[in-house]
Amino acid sequence: MATLLEDLTKYFINCNLATEVGKDIWYDYDPDEPAQAIIIQEYDSKSNSVVCNDASVRYVQITARDVSSTWASSKAWQVYKYLMSIDNVIHLDNRWLMFSIKNSPIKIKTDSKQRIVYGFNLFMTTNFD
């Protein structure tokens, strides 16, 4: 079974929000190049939500970056709006997940190569990898 981030990445590609892993979207990895990129990462947080014995709550950050603030912002908003527009339960091949978006896209930083990074966070209840 693929990891959560891998599954999410494939899902976004299937939804035409990105085209190919390693080309315009990455998971669990922040590549130095290219400038234009969507990056999906998991982060550690703390939750008291004990769900059941084969699922847990996980925290994910989705970012979009580019030297163009317009592209970074609009790509982050595109993904955000897509997730807002669907039912918050997603069924994939071997996974179900129920997500909740924590915030709308915000500018997170300008990196050392002058690329603007926009992003938002969500948490999700999903079955184990």
Partner: protein
């Protein structure tokens, strides 16, 4: 066999008076409870907030208010309480989001974790304080 229950006008007035007193007791103790939860968040956040110049850590705040429908406590960093970083002359508002959200940083999400941790026991804290105020 039957039981007749009657509420006379005097009892009704007394009950209304009691409810009025009880309402303000509940609201006051709820505010105390919410502030206690807010202080819990601040205590945890203080211990985990990344520190360089100390300006960001010093910009934390807690504000409480009661309106007609809610008892509120806002806990956060910056805004009216933003500080100037003495090393860079930047306002903490200019970099607090990056420090919190940039996952490549060592202390990312410290405030979110503080909130989640303090929230675990929030219901119990609130119930205990309100119960104690009501003499329970």
């Amino acid at each position: 066999m039957s039981i007749k229950i009657t509420m006379d006008k005097m009892s009704e007035k007394q009950m209304l008076n009691n409810l009025t007193v009880m309402r303000s007791t509940v609201i006051n103790s709820a505010q105390e409870g919410i502030e206690t939860i807010g202080s819990g968040i601040i205590n945890i956040a203080d211990a985990t907030c990344p520190e360089n110049s100390g300006a960001l850590k010093a910009s934390i705040y807690k504000e409480s208010e009661v309106d007609s429908n809610n008892v509120n406590c806002n806990v956060g960093y910056g805004g009216h309480y933003a500080k100037i970083n003495p090393k860079t002359q930047e306002s903490t508002d200019e970099y607090s989001i990056e420090v919190h959200e940039d996952l490549s940083g060592n202390s990312a999400k410290w405030f979110e974790k503080a909130f989640n941790t303090a929230s675990e026991d929030a219901d119990n804290v609130l119930v205990e304080i309100i119960r104690a105020a009501l003499g329970g």
